[in-house]
């Protein structure tokens, strides 16, 4: 870098001339002023100039310079370029090199960028900031061999919006169809790692990338580094395993053309399930039309896009959740949640999770068991059928207890008759005594079972009944065996069990 003492004679002359030129201009100005107003402002002007020169800040004359900074990971160096004051030493590429050396930067300097920044700073007399003048190299992780799934298989399927007034269930499909021979995944070979460098020349070791390692499962085969579907079906992926479930695609109604259906995989019925037919499905059932007075049993979810018309004979059991537009006059039970868009009419609906209705969804008549709670817009009607809501209890245990109760009452009645007969002497005494012993033994077994079951009621004392619209008189609500009868119309109300008082309380929401 040039120092002040290194100025050449030519430089000195140029700067002297520049100074003289400026002073000359000021002298001419003074002369002109005297001529114009005839006064003698020269003295005043001089004084004024003197004062001004005393108050004016003294500009610090500096050489051009560069400030550089290293990033925390030492992978980049950024620089700010400051131009030289007039007639002071300008920046040169050497200035930058020296600055880099001072910070022990010895790797990845970008000379083109540096030259460009130096040139612009010197010629435009501007401060240039945040110029990346050196870059290290990030290490590239080693990627182990793995299967890469086809993108279309990973696309999220649309789901029903519980708040929507209308849900187009035709658009709500949880299924991802594949055909036999479709490529599901391609083998991505191992990619070696590459070490990195910091700008100070240090080596950065590479690691091993964490990649998703999905494993092909049922109904798939590996051919030439690709996983392909070995049958038509639905693609499933849970955690790190993927497989194909065979699908039965019924293009018509389930009726006399198809007969009853018993299929281990998923079933899609493009039509309706007609009165009196049975569909047993190991996976999920997706019915695009209505389910009528049929018997349906699924291992997973059940969707009835157009609703369920049970006609007091329909029975639906789902191992997963149930989605339907409406339910009327039907017996429905689900291990999972039940979501009904518009209404439940005079049905027995049972869920081990919760029952939720759409934004304007109503429940009129029937009995609802929702272990973890219920949410609806309206419960009951002015003069309609009775509506009963039971929450907080495992309905399956309750059903078993009711069966035991019925059997127990039957046996108790017989036992009473036998005991009455035993009081009268007769020839059948021994037989009656034997019958009495048998009945008593059977009753004891039922009672033992009841005692065990009552411990399994699996109460959820936090279950709530939420009504966003109106709840009408005579609606019966029970949470964890505590009763509440609605006596007047209530609106926007939440019913919950107050554990302290052991009573159900209704709160406005």
């Amino acid at each position: 870098m040039k120092k002040a003492s290194d100025y050449s004679l030519e430089d000195l002359l140029v700067s002297s001339k520049s100074l003289i030129d400026k002073l000359g201009g000021q002298v001419e100005q003074i002369i002109e002023s005297e001529t114009l107003d005839g006064s003698n402002p020269a003295g005043e002007m001089s004084a004024s100039q003197f004062v001004e020169s005393e108050e004016a800040p003294t500009e610090l004359l500096t050489d051009g310079y560069v400030e550089i900074a290293l990033s925390g990971d030492e992978l980049t160096v950024t620089a700010d370029f400051y131009p030289a004051s007039e007639d002071m030493q300008i920046i040169t590429p050497d200035t930058v090199s020296l600055a880099l050396s001072g910070k022990n930067v010895c790797y990845g300097a970008d000379q083109d960028v540096i030259d460009d920044a130096v040139f612009r700073c010197n010629t435009e007399q501007t401060i240039i900031t945040d110029v990346v003048i050196a870059r290290g190299i990030k290490p590239a992780n080693e990627i182990p061999e793995h299967w890469v799934l086809e993108e279309k298989l990973l696309e999220k399927k649309p789901v029903a919006d519980e708040n929507a007034l209308r849900v187009d269930y035709k658009e709500v499909s949880p299924f991802n169809y594949v055909k036999k021979g479709d490529i599901l995944a391609t083998l991505c070979p191992k990619s070696p790692g590459v070490e990195g460098h910091t700008v100070r020349g240090l080596l950065i070791p590479f690691g091993t990338a964490k990649v998703r390692m999905p494993h092909p499962g049922r109904n798939t085969e590996i051919v030439d580094g690709k996983v392909i579907a070995s049958c038509d079906g639905i693609f499933y992926m849970i955690h790190n395993s993927f497989w194909i479930n065979q699908v039965l695609d019924v293009h018509t109604d389930v009726d006399y053309h198809t007969g009853n259906i018993d299929f281990q995989g998923d079933i899609i019925v493009k039509g309706s399930v007609k009165d009196g037919f049975k569909v047993k499905c190991g996976g999920s059932l997706f019915c695009l039309e209505t389910i009528e007075a049929a018997e349906i049993s699924t291992g997973n979810d059940l969707t009835a896009s157009r609703g369920i018309v049970g006609r007091k004979k329909g029975k639906l059991r789902a191992g997963g959740s149930i989605h339907a537009k409406f339910i009327e006059y039907c017996f429905v039970e689900a291990v999972g949640s039940i979501f009904i868009e518009t209404g439940i009419i005079n049905s027995s609906v049972n869920s081990l999770e919760d029952v939720t209705l759409g934004k304007k969804g109503i429940i009129i008549g029937g009995t609802i068991h929702a272990q973890n709670g219920l949410k609806a817009y309206r419960l009951g009607t002015d003069k309609g059928p009775k509506t009963e809501i039971y929450c907080g209890i495992d309905y399956t245990v309750q059903q078993k207890l009711e069966w035991i109760r019925d059997k127990s009452v039957e046996i108790a009645t017989q036992l009473k008759q036998v005991r009455d007969r035993l009081k009268r002497p007769g020839q059948e005494f021994a037989k009656l005594q034997e019958a009495e012993g048998n009945l008593r033994g059977y009753l004891s077994k039922l009672n033992e079972a009841a005692n065990v079951l009552v411990m399994q009621l699996d109460k959820n004392e936090d279950a709530e009944v939420i009504v966003t619209g109106d709840v009408y008189p005579d609606v019966y609500i029970e949470i964890c065996h505590v009763s509440y009868i609605v006596t007047r119309k209530l609106s926007h109300v939440k019913f919950r069990l107050d554990k302290k008082s052991g009573k159900i309380v209704a709160r406005i929401i």
């Binding site: 207890l401 109760r405 127990s408 009452v409 004891s444 079951l453 009552v454 009763s483």
Partner: protein, 116 residues
């Protein structure tokens, strides 16, 4: 100690069934078809649970509940009814009955209340 159950119901077969079933489980069950006699028994003896039918000719379940609760506010009374929204059932709940059980009776609920 043996837990005591009182049942007040005008239908003898219901009383018989409860006596037989709950008796087999080891509970001491006493039944009355006459509501007044049942009330008196409830006042005289400390029962762990009292089952009261909602519809009886002499007195309804709400009246029986009110009479017992007046004498023994801590009494644990369950109302037996075929229809849970029966207005007398509601009155009985208001009078202090704990809950409603459906006819003829609900083993699960009865055991649940005996244990808690």
């Amino acid at each position: 100690m043996e837990q005591k159950i009182l049942i007040i119901d005008d239908e003898q077969p219901i009383i018989d069934a409860v006596e037989t079933i709950m008796g087999d489980m080891g509970y001491d069950v006493q039944g009355f078809t006459d509501a007044s006699a049942g009330i008196q028994a409830a006042i005289d003896i400390d029962f762990d649970l009292i089952l009261v039918d909602v519809r009886m000719p002499e007195k309804n379940g709400a009246e029986v509940t009110a009479a017992i609760i007046e004498a023994k506010p801590e009494a644990k009374i369950l109302i037996i009814t075929a229809f849970p929204t029966d207005p007398f059932a509601k009155q009985a709940l208001d009078a202090g009955a704990k809950t409603i059980i459906k006819k003829p009776f609900e083993i699960g609920k009865v055991l649940d209340y005996l244990r808690n």
